[in-house]
Symmetry: C2
Subunit: 301 residues, 2 copies
């Protein structure tokens, strides 16, 4: 079956612009437009990142989108994707092909191409994607540039991603970030794959600055009667794949309105960077609230 998949990939994904494309050789040979590239890999595992019975199209779509989201968080453009697949016996050729159809769907809005892969027999489905991107204009966005006085921004909604299936259908914020970089002087950025709380904590720690977060400004994916319950879900559920970033902007209200109009996605100013350290949360009455940290972890020890 491996030869069948490779043959199908070579026919379906071959691109004359790529010097040595997928399925042809020991490695792909590809062109690079600039002298630096972005590199990131993500492993998705059956039972952890998707259900066993999930439609393979959704699995492929998620795998590619998770990688694309990493490039968005760096302020980059995606160029190339490589996919390693571990497939169990119950997966036939048509299921394997569906995974690649999902990958193709996720890549289609961008110029990114599938250029490499490996397929091996496994006891359950494993999908590992590696993405190559680059910074088209401006500087790379790291996690460490937040400065006191910056606003804290977030795209989209948070919480209940797994329950609502959002993690299978989210849009990697590539085009959104390209737009935002022109409107906002972004100082640090990260995607919220492990939850909003983890992103805020990481940006704060890596930047060496304190974050004050207005919980009332965080948009929930699912409306809840209990305010704190909704915020807790937004902070810790994870798998939102939205952008969390800091920066300065002459007219944040107008920028948010324009952004929402253009992308049909909210842009929220959820807080302010201050001197000091740590992330503090405040309710609508500006009283500090504390949450039990239940950040999403793969390892529980």
């Amino acid at each position: 079956m491996e030869q069948k998949i490779i043959g199908w990939l070579a026919r379906s994904f071959l691109d004359k612009k790529i010097p040595v494309g997928i399925g042809l050789d020991d490695a792909a040979l590809v062109d690079i437009p600039k002298k630096q590239i972005l590199l990131s890999c993500d492993m998705l595992i059956e039972g952890t990142h998707f259900r066993s019975k999930e439609d393979p199209v959704h699995i492929g779509r998620k795998a590619a989108s998770v990688s694309l989201s990493d490039i968005a968080a760096m302020g980059g453009e995606p160029l190339y994707l490589l996919v390693s697949l571990g497939l169990p016996r119950r997966y036939g050729f048509s299921d394997a092909r569906k995974i690649f159809q999902g990958i193709r769907a996720a890549l289609s809005p961008y110029r990114a191409k599938l250029v490499g892969g490996d397929t091996v027999r496994s006891r359950f489905v494993v999908v590992d994607t590696t993405i190559v991107g680059y910074i088209k204009e401006g500087k790379v966005l790291t996690r460490s540039g937040a400065r006191p006085g910056d606003s804290i921004f977030a795209t989209g909604c948070f919480g209940d991603s797994l329950r609502t299936g959002w993690h299978y259908r989210f849009t990697p914020r590539i085009k959104e970030m390209e737009y935002l970089r022109k409107k906002i002087r972004i100082t640090s950025a990260m995607d919220a794959s492990d939850g909003l709380h983890a992103s805020l904590r990481t940006l704060s720690q890596r930047s060496g600055a304190g974050f004050d977060v207005a919980c009332g400004e965080i948009k929930s994916r699912v409306a809840k009667k209990d305010f704190l319950l909704a915020v807790d879900s937004a902070l810790f559920d994870g798998e939102d794949f939205e952008l969390v970033f800091t920066g300065r902007c002459p007219d944040a209200v107008r920028t948010a309105r324009d952004f929402e109009k253009k992308f049909k996605v909210p842009l929220s100013v959820i807080g302010k960077v201050r001197k000091g350290a740590g992330v503090k949360f405040f309710d609508r009455e500006s009283r500090e609230v504390r949450f039990e940290n239940r950040e999403f972890r793969h390892f529980t020890e």
Copy 2:
């Protein structure tokens, strides 16, 4: 544990020459010396590619070496490696670290750096490596350039790789290929990961040329009394990770002797490229011999 691994990686593998290195951000940012890069990914799975009880150092060493071998087969130099790890509960921090120590050992003879990774919980060990390389000098070596009249070459010995543990300790032929390219006008090349037979068949098919192979010239890793049994093992056992290539060379005997002296590895001329199609095998008396094709496959459908 994921944070512990990321922290350890960032401390152990951090390199000031890399703009954004491992464990720091959503993606790594790295420099590229030329306008084209080589890309390849390989997935290794517990039970298929290594034993469950195997020393994690060996697993890491093999994973990185398999990727390095792909770059060697293209005539390239390795630059960067990314590693995704799926780890079961029985794997503690020290086991995970051992995998990375094996990776470091495999990379150490080269300038290649570990720049990215992902670590997730899995029911068994999965290691996926993606390598970025480049062509320092000359052209890329593909599988499709063999021409009638070319000699067929192979480095090293074949067969019994799994039984002897060779697949855990093989040397990716990066430096060997760099040397060989200067001595031989190489027309096509491939590494023998799925066995010598699969490599010969693929080079022949992709080049649109026939291959005549002199079985008596193939070097066996383990001596066997039965000639045909030894050749069968060399052709089909797989996991040799030697280079198989075609090309022209003014003095092949001297080149082989010099190569062997320099690298302490044999270089054999195992046949000749002819017009036509297909791979034919001949014994020491130049009689054609046939082998039952048992090429290594991951899927047995």
